[in-house]
């Protein structure tokens, strides 16, 4: 009798186990596709020109698609409004973003805010931010070297007596500061005269073009150097407005800069690969182990391009994105 009871118990346990397994099978079978979690990455940049960030977004979008994640590009109305960018960052964190990729409008302010906020999600900067703690990283080209190479190119192409004006209008952006430093180190003592056009007090408001026009009128110069897209575009517009011509050396990725490179208004253009920056930044926030394994020593490429070689096979793939 005892044996019989034991058998019945065993049978009941076996039946329950089978029911449990069958339920588990159906759950797995039916719910696997639904249970996949979709992450969301917020790409927060400055300025309202979304086309300016197209390469960066394309690179990040490829990784997000691969990793079944969503990507949204968030811009600010003003290029220099730190509070607006901080507001967007906070909002995205509150809305449950799984990762942030940030092009900071002010490197140190945004860095301080992120460190203070400690959002608990992966954060990567796509422009140089100095003095980062260990939990944050930035994916950028070697800005100092880029500026330095641009300076070397200027020294190589210009005579030793030229007057060079450097537009130093973005002190809040560490990337721009580094480029400028690299450039100045390269040309030190090798040009006739060096002028710095700086509107750090922002006397002209946010209208860079007017500031540059005023500078152009007030000071004679042969060569003008700019280190970011906005300043380069403003410089081109200012010269066009004044119907003036100067030789421009610039760091920029804007279409206007490319066109003016072709029309020889820009002599030399330093062009960072923002597509690679977007790709690696997204890979870092979505799959850090894979990024560390595959791209630990990968450096973000930049090219020093002149009109003569802008249509070279290698350069055109970088300078001209496929979709335009």
């Amino acid at each position: 009798m005892k044996k019989l009871t034991e058998h019945r118990r065993l049978l009941v346990v076996a039946i329950l186990l089978v029911i449990f397994l069958v339920t588990a099978i159906s759950q797995i079978y039916l719910q696997t596709p639904k249970s996949e979690t979709r992450k969301h990455v917020s790409l927060i940049v400055y300025g309202e020109d979304t086309e300016r960030w197209e390469n960066l977004r394309d690179g990040a979008a490829l990784v997000c698609e691969e990793k079944n994640s969503g990507l949204s590009l968030l811009t600010t109305l003003s290029e220099e409004d730190v509070s607006e960018q901080i507001e967007i960052i906070d909002r995205e964190i509150e809305n449950g973003a799984d990762a942030l990729i940030i092009a900071p409008c002010s490197s140190q302010d945004i860095r301080d805010h992120i460190e203070r906020k400690n959002p608990g999600i992966p954060v990567v900067f796509v422009e140089e931010v100095l003095s980062l703690d260990g939990s944050l990283s930035c994916i950028t080209p070697d800005d100092y070297n880029m500026g330095h190479e641009l300076g070397e190119n200027l020294v190589e192409n210009e005579s030793g007596i030229v007057t060079v004006a450097v537009i130093s209008d973005e002190p809040k952006k560490d990337s721009v500061s580094l480029r400028e430093k690299g450039f100045l180190d390269a040309i030190e003592g090798k040009v006739g005269k060096l002028i710095t056009w700086s509107d750090t007090d922002n006397r002209m408001g946010s209208d860079k073009r007017t500031f540059i026009q005023k500078a152009l009128v007030s000071e004679a110069t042969d060569v003008i150097v700019s280190f970011d897209n906005t300043t380069t575009d403003a410089l081109i517009d200012a010269l066009s407005n004044l119907n003036e011509e100067r030789r421009i050396y610039s760091v920029s990725t804007s279409n206007k800069a490319l066109y003016n490179l072709y029309s020889r208004k820009i002599i030399t253009l330093a062009y960072p690969n923002e597509y690679a920056m977007g790709y690696l930044a997204a890979m870092n926030v979505l799959d850090r182990p894979y990024a560390d394994k595959m791209y630990r020593d990968k450096e973000i490429e930049y090219r020093i391009v002149r009109k003569e070689d802008m249509y070279d096979e290698d350069n055109q793939t970088l300078l001209f994105p496929f979709v335009n």
Partner: protein
């Protein structure tokens, strides 16, 4: 190998049920695992084969679309070449109108049509646009290719068109179709170049549609491995992603398996006619495995479920099969324990049940045990009877020396004219013999046994000239109880010979009979010198059998007889103190003599 031995030993030690369960479970596990692996492998292979077939179909479709597209472009080029430019005097005739018509008809796929002289001067172009200053067409690859092999059409890889101005900073990715054409100026024929710039987005769109969804991807490269389209083209250009295009461009049409960047991939290659371009479909096996993940989980769960059912089933079946054997074994083991413990074998406890074979085995064992028991019982009975008769015979013997002494005493009494004493002694002797015979009964009443003891005492008193006195105190309640005959006399004999014979003073012998705790006790006490303890302890053993004085029957014999007739804790109890005396007590069950005889009559 050294682990196999202990496993084998352990396996041998296990029960039959465990062995059957384990063996069947192991076989089931191996079978299910093999089937699951075979099924999974087969499914993967089938999926791979189907995917390759599907990819081949896709590649064929893309190839057909691309061929149509390229043929369309080539027909535009042919039309321009043979119907518009050839034999046309370009000095005074213009070709812009026809060129515009062709462009307008195909402008979805075209960026521009250009006809240039061998010096790089543009004769006609559609759509009309300003030529970029400083652009030297002769340095451009499409131009040089046209003159390298003037009889062929040349397709370039995608590049940014660098001929015309665009005030909106727009640029155009194109694939250039260039050829050498004969230009006629005032009857003079000069070589020029006809360029049809195909909109790259047309090709891009074609491939994007194919790559939208599904596993793997399709890309396009030229015969040198230069990528024309790839879904991760920009990442490849940036050095972030690698592609095996330089190897693929040398593959002949067909399906291949390869390992690239540590990844197993199925590759299908198809060459596009005339251009030598290769359409390549790549499917990483890991992506197929992802699709198979669900099936793998499903298979795993089904296999585990079936295995659990089989394990439980095996356990139950093995139990049903082995339970009768185990019960049979248990009953035999119980029997063995019973035999060891001197219990009687009971064949009815042998289990008979289960299958026909087990029932037959049980019945055979039962029959065997019955036979064995019968034989054993007979042997025991024979041995017991033999022993009893031996003891009884021994007990029944009257020591000849005792008889001689008694008769000598009688002779001496008659010679001394003590006729009364002689008569009394002969009467006592006669009674002694009568009770000794007791009609052949070994069991007599205590009353008769006491009479026998009294007669014996009377004779011995005469012989020993009243050297001792005897006191007899028997509880009347036990007189009718059964006892073995002639068990008191040996005790009295021992009391006389070893107790009082050699005493200086008068000896005292006390015979008592009483009931205690439902049993009967008959004790013989003397006040002799007593028995040393070491001797006392050996008196009831076989070694103590004495053939000295008296009847020659030791206490051992008396004890043995009591134990043969009355089982249990019955027999003799010997108590002695040196210089104080000895008491030997007979312990018997209290059974009335009539009752004993009735039971004896039954058996």
């Amino acid at each position: 190998m050294r682990f196999i031995g202990p496993i084998k030993d352990e396996y041998k030690k296990r029960s039959l049920q465990w062995t059957i369960s384990l063996s069947f479970t192991a076989i089931a596990f191996i079978s299910i695992a093999s089937m699951a692996i075979a099924f999974y492998t087969h499914s993967i292979n089938t999926l791979r084969t189907n995917t390759i077939k599907q990819n081949e179909q896709i590649v064929d479709q893309v190839s057909w679309n691309l061929n149509s597209y390229l043929r369309n472009m080539m027909s535009i080029s042919d039309t321009m070449c043979y119907s518009v430019i050839k034999n046309r005097n370009l000095t005074n005739e213009r070709i812009n109108e026809e060129m515009n018509l062709l462009y307008e008809a195909n402008k979805d796929n075209l960026t521009s049509i250009v006809c240039a002289t061998g010096d790089g001067a543009i004769i006609a172009a559609s759509p009309v646009s300003s030529r970029k200053s400083g652009v030297d067409l002769k340095k451009q690859e499409w131009f040089q290719n046209a003159f390298d092999e003037i009889e062929n059409l040349h397709f370039s890889v995608p590049h940014v068109q660098n001929i015309f101005e665009d005030s909106n900073y727009r640029y155009y990715w194109v694939v250039s179709l260039s050829r050498s054409v004969e230009l006629t100026f005032l009857g003079n024929v000069r070589n020029g170049v006809l360029l049809v710039d195909m909109n790259y987005s047309g090709i891009e769109q074609m491939f994007e549609n194919v790559n939208d969804g599904g596993v793997g991807f399709v890309y396009l490269c030229d015969s040198d491995g230069k990528i024309i389209y790839h879904p991760m083209q920009k990442a490849i250009y940036a050095g972030l992603v690698n592609e095996n295009n330089l190897a693929h461009c040398h593959y002949a049409d067909g399906a291949y398996s390869e390992k690239f960047d540590g990844q197993e991939r199925d590759v299908v290659v198809k060459t596009v006619g005339y251009t030598g371009w290769k359409i390549i479909s790549v499917t990483p096996t890991s992506e197929l495995a992802l699709d198979m993940g669900q099936m793998r989980n499903y298979l795993l769960m089904v296999a585990i479920t079936v295995l659990i059912l089989i394990v439980v089933g095996n356990y139950i079946i093995s139990y049903v099969v082995t339970d009768p054997i185990r019960k049979l074994e248990d009953s035999i083991a119980y029997l063995e324990e019973g035999v060891t413990g001197q219990d009687v074998m009971n064949e009815d406890e042998i289990f008979i049940g289960g299958s026909h074979e087990i029932r037959h085995l049980g019945r055979t064992i039962k029959s065997m045990i019955r036979q064995m028991r019968k034989l054993t019982d007979e042997m025991v009975k024979e041995q017991k009877a033999k022993r009893k008769s031996e003891l009884d015979a021994l007990q029944s013997q009257i020591n000849p020396h005792f008889l001689y002494n008694t008769l000598d005493s009688v002779v001496w009494m008659i010679e001394g004219e003590r006729y009364k004493d002689a008569i009394s002694m002969v009467t006592a002797l006669a009674q002694l013999f009568r009770i000794s015979l007791s009609k052949g009964n070994n069991i007599i009443s205590i009353h008769d046994e006491i009479i026998h003891a009294k007669n014996y005492l009377n004779i011995q008193k005469v012989r020993y000239k009243n050297k001792f006195s005897a006191t007899i105190d028997i509880d009347p309640a036990i007189e009718n109880c059964a006892t073995i005959k002639l068990i008191v006399q040996p005790l009295l004999e021992n009391a006389i010979y070893y107790g009082v014979e050699h005493m200086d003073g008068e000896g005292e012998i006390t015979l008592r009979g009483y009931e205690k705790d439902g049993d009967v006790y008959i004790s013989v006490s003397d006040n002799g010198m007593g028995i040393p303890e070491e001797v006392r302890q050996t008196l009831l053993t076989d070694k103590a059998r004495s053939r000295g004085k008296g009847s020659g029957i030791g206490l051992w014999n008396v004890n043995q007889r009591i134990q043969i007739y009355f089982k249990g804790d019955y027999g003799l109890i010997i108590e002695s103190e040196l210089d104080e005396g000895t008491t030997v007590t007979i312990h018997l069950p209290k059974i009335p003599i009539e009752e004993y005889r009735k039971e004896e009559g039954k058996s």
